[in-house]
Subunit: 369 residues, 2 copies
């Protein structure tokens, strides 16, 4: 099946399963161990999110430093993002945003969310206007995860890249050669268009608080923690290499596994917004969820329950009952559709209230620290 | 002496003299002929600027189209710029801005002036803050050439690149490969930093009116005429190649020779702000002008008189008297220092009135068409 390849542009497994241990060792990040989770619980005075307890967010870079600083009273900010290539988010995206919301609430810290509409314009055959429209739609889904307006700033690159953020993009682009881009991202320095070669600088820059004069205050230096799926690691590895030259903090990372596609539950791939049937979207109805789960593999169903059934005891019971034959696969699918519908129904109700005015408020540059 | 090389980054002559005929044929631009000058005079109802009559602005691309459209009542806009690498402008820069002012007045058209502080940051060892400071200083010199506030917008790339301009930079960067950058600009696609590879897109984008939503109105398509020294041609050749793909007008160009350095009057090089003694700066006193001219070659003195003595009859008389021995080189230098001092004294008086408030007005995005 060839070698495993994990870059921000493609994830391909070897022999049908993503080898996460191999990624961690290849990338040079660290596994999150039980001690670190305990420390996090103690510091936040909250139980760890199921995604942490169940090893879904399983790897990190420098999370200890963030916790050390937090313990001494130094706040940090969260940075995450979304490349708007579909009308709405799917469950794989929700994993990232649900976890980000948990972090925002647990630490009471500001959060910036990048809509990389510029990236989608450069990479896909979509106009800038359409990328921005998709981005605004996606932002409504994101807001519906429950983020707090007074601590959250969502920005479209096409709109917001300028001033302090552009200064940092430029500074970063003064350190990167296109050769480095080909080494880190597998881009072709000879033939790939400049937009592709430049984009990493645009994704890297928001990891530095000085990119947000109007959001954190001019020249404010804060640490950054980035919750993301592990395929985004190369961007931020690069940002960590650059930080000392910029005399800024190295961004820390907390990284997740991929939510598998419905058909291939063994972890052989990422759920993809580009192939609608492999994914459950936040706009799906209970009926649609049931239909999509009809052809799901056992491994998928178990994986999805592990991601989305919040109650540990209930989850264990489901699994045990299935092992012992007390529950059939059909039963599990029924359970799962209820679990997923609870998540989505809640989100859809919140979304009904997110109008353009609220969206504009979230996207208005203003102090959020 | 090797081959003649003319790029935006270096101008080197072969056998001591820039071969302008060769540049025109290599670049594929056209010479400005007397018919074109006559047409321009007729359309503007003004005598042509001495720089045109004397072949200083000597080459063009598509100037006819601009005049055709103008004749039919379609206005265009002017775009020129300055890379702020010195405290003040020298006479070589003045050539460009004096001519631009003539064009603005003759056609009554809006003008955008790019301060490429981002370029200087990327190419020189100067901080972004310092590049912006130099840019603001240079802008005061530029304003002192007499540009009209209601028709002129000066912008710093570090400040202004965003929104519609960034959209166009991005669109342009989606068409350019780093290979193309190496073919056109002699950049090294393998090792040059991304900032260098990207910069051409930032210089190209303002040649399209759609980059200036807040200056020309949203989505307004206007033709563009770019007065510049001929070494800038590669940028705009590229912008003309891209225009059809962007469904925008091809920018037109009107291109000048270089003002030679004081020492080497035969046209072997550009006057350079980086070697202060080769150049007369707009801040120089009459005494400094005289000192700098002391060691000047005959060819330099004659060239400078041709650039800056506005009166054709007076210029011819000076040249004839020098040929016949009626005037010595010493006399000519005296004449020249008076001519130059008249230009600079006038400019320095105007500059005394250009305070930060006026500068901010010129740099404030607002409708200028």
């Amino acid at each position: 099946m060839g070698e495993q390849v994990v870059t921000p542009y493609s994830v391909s497994a070897r022999n049908g399963a993503v080898d996460y241990a191999r990624i961690v060792s290849d990338f040079g990040c660290k596994l999150i161990d039980p001690q670190l989770i305990q420390r996090l619980e103690k510091l936040t005075n909250k139980p760890a999110h199921p995604f942490l307890r169940r090893g879904i967010f399983f790897a990190h870079r420098d999370l200890e430093s963030i916790l050390d600083a937090y313990e001494q009273g130094h706040k940090f900010f969260l940075y995450t993002g979304r490349g708007p290539s579909s009308e709405s988010l799917h469950l794989g995206h929700l994993v990232q945003f649900m976890f980000t919301k948990y972090l925002q609430d647990a630490f009471d810290v500001p959060l910036v969310i990048q809509l990389s509409d510029d990236e989608k314009f450069i990479w896909k055959d979509i106009s800038q206007e359409e990328c921005q429209r998709l981005g605004r739609n996606n932002a409504k889904d994101i807001i519906s995860c429950g983020f707090r307006l007074e601590r959250t700033f969502i920005f479209s690159n096409l709109d917001y890249v300028s001033g302090a953020l552009f200064d940092n993009v430029l500074t970063i682009s003064s350190f990167l050669s296109s050769n480095a881009m080909s080494a880190v991202f597998g881009l072709n320095a000879e033939t790939d268009v400049l937009g592709k070669l430049l984009y990493p600088a645009v994704q890297i820059a928001p990891a530095f608080s000085t990119s947000f004069d109007d959001v954190f205050g001019e020249g404010i230096k804060m640490r950054c923690l980035i919750p993301c799926a592990i395929d985004q690691d190369p961007y931020f590895r690069l940002s960590r290499d650059l930080a000392p030259r910029l005399k800024l903090y190295k961004p820390a990372l907390i990284e997740s596994r991929f939510l598998p596609s419905i058909e291939a539950g063994d972890g052989s791939g990422k759920m993809s917004a580009s192939s609608p049937n492999s994914a459950i979207f936040v706009t799906d109805t209970l009926e649609e969820i049931k239909q999509k789960l009809a052809g799901a593999a056992v491994e998928s169903v178990l994986a999805y329950l592990t991601f989305f059934e919040e109650n540990d005891a209930v989850l264990e019971e489901m699994k045990a009952d299935f092992s012992s034959g007390k529950r059939s696969l059909e039963d599990l699918k029924n359970d799962l559709s209820k679990v997923l519908w609870e998540v989505l129904e809640n989100l859809q109700q919140l979304k009904a209230e997110v109008d353009d005015k609220i969206l504009s408020e979230f996207m208005r540059p203003r102090l959020i620290r």
